[in-house]
């Protein structure tokens, strides 16, 4: 009896594993596939080289809170400079990031961990990327969704029908959502609020645009 129970348990564990790993992600589950309207989508939020993008940043990671100032600027056609400082202005990290390269200009010892840097690079690339090639399009009453493929990773871009603003990016594999980015924008020039929510690690980055910054 005990033996058969163990066997049953093993089989069910195996089944759970197989079934979950076969499951496809449900990002556009309730959406209808529609014909492609365009072959690419351009995100305006960090694309203007004359704008200093300055945000108050609040980061929650594994239950710890960290806050400071997030600064991004497009410094040439392919590259953004990204700096994170404390409220007092001390630099904590200073990166240069393009879609294919990155360079760490500075990072404080306490944050100098390979895993953390790689996570941030992925997040910042998603945040700053301005051009996506579109493979498929989906639609419901509220949103137009564009699917962009990037090797094994998929990016779903949610564009709200009411104001034509990009409101969400879901970064996923074929099976699982990895990172969600939520954007709030009033003018479709920059985002006033951004939330980067990880699905596989307890990491959330919230960015709020500096109210007094008018440029």
């Amino acid at each position: 009896m005990q033996k058969s129970m163990k066997l049953l348990l093993r089989i069910s564990c195996f089944l759970v594993l197989v079934l979950t790993s076969c499951a496809t992600n449900t990002v556009v589950k309730d959406y209808a596939t529609v014909a492609l309207e365009k072959s690419s989508y351009d995100v305006p939020y960090f694309s203007n080289p004359t704008i200093d993008y300055v945000y108050k940043a609040n980061i929650t990671v594994y239950g710890n809170e960290l806050s400071g100032i997030f600064i991004a600027k497009k410094i040439n056609d392919t590259t953004h400079r990204v700096v994170f400082t404390t409220e007092f202005g001390n630099k904590l990290l200073d990166f240069e990031i393009s879609e294919t390269n990155f360079n760490v200009n500075f990072i404080v010892e306490e944050l100098d961990r390979k895993m953390l840097i790689n996570t941030l690079i992925t997040d910042f690339r998603l945040l700053l990327r301005s051009h996506y090639a579109i493979k498929a399009q989906f639609d419901n009453t509220e949103n137009e969704v564009y699917l962009s493929e990037e090797g094994k990773r998929l990016n779903y871009l949610f564009v709200s029908k009411s104001d034509n603003n990009l409101s969400k990016i879901v970064h996923s594999t074929k099976r699982k959502e990895k990172i969600n980015l939520f954007f709030t924008s009033e003018n479709n020039i920059f985002a006033t609020k951004i939330i980067i929510q990880h699905k596989t690690i307890p990491l959330k980055i919230e960015l709020n645009y500096f109210k007094d910054q008018t440029n």
Binding site: D52, S67, I69, I71, E87, G89, F210
Partner: protein, 211 residues
């Protein structure tokens, strides 16, 4: 071509002159008088409150990032540093604790006897009150211009040096109080804090230092 060289010379000359006029090294005697006057003022400070405007300069940005707020200090070591614009963020150093209020979200960190935080606390209070002249902690150099005295502090402590390359305090010549604090991270990037509406020894309510 000749005129170009001439213009260049004029430019270099005027540049040298203006920088000469702006900032001059103090003599040993001037240093002694200056230090004494600052020590006299800072010794009298039992409490201090001031408004400030902080300009974060990063060389790749088109303009400095401006934040502003108020700072309150009360002897022996209670300190409030509060940003009001463009967001509300307050940090309080009191009895070995750091209290933070970030847009209403409150937290506390026990720093106990953390040497580095002790130094930072001393540094902030010292920067604003002018009482930073510790030769053991800093290599100090002294300059002057028409209306101001400027002292430059290079930290000796390795831990502190990682965060701050140099601190520059600008003093008003008349009343020997600090009007500007500049923290240099590198030659191109720095934080400049301008102090305004300073009030010395007004009665400060302890409640200012609660979160």
């Amino acid at each position: 071509m000749k005129s170009n060289v001439f213009l260049l010379l004029v430019f270099i000359n005027s540049f040298c002159f203006s920088s000469f006029a702006q900032e001059q090294k103090m003599t040993d005697n001037e240093i002694a008088v200056f230090k004494q006057s600052v020590a006299m003022v800072s010794k009298k400070i039992k409490s201090l409150s001031t408004d400030f405007v902080q300009y974060k300069h990063l060389d790749f940005l088109s303009k400095d990032i401006e934040t502003s707020g108020k700072m309150v200090f009360k002897e022996p070591n209670s300190l409030l540093w509060q940003y009001k614009k463009p967001y509300s963020y307050a940090i309080i150093f009191k009895n070995g604790k750091i209290l933070i209020n970030d847009e209403g979200k409150k937290s506390a960190v026990d720093i106990g006897n953390s040497k580095l935080f002790g130094k930072i606390n001393k540094l902030i209070v010292g920067s604003v009150s002018g009482d930073l002249f510790d030769d053991k902690e800093f290599t100090i150099s002294y300059f002057k211009n028409k209306n101001q005295n400027i002292s430059k502090f290079v930290p000796k402590d390795a831990a502190l040096k990682k965060y701050i390359k140099q601190i520059e305090l600008t003093f008003d010549k008349e009343d020997a109080t600090v009007v500007q604090v500049k923290l240099l991270e590198s030659s191109a990037d720095f934080t400049r804090i301008v102090l305004k509406n300073k009030v010395i020894n007004a009665k400060i309510d302890e409640a200012s230092f609660t979160n």
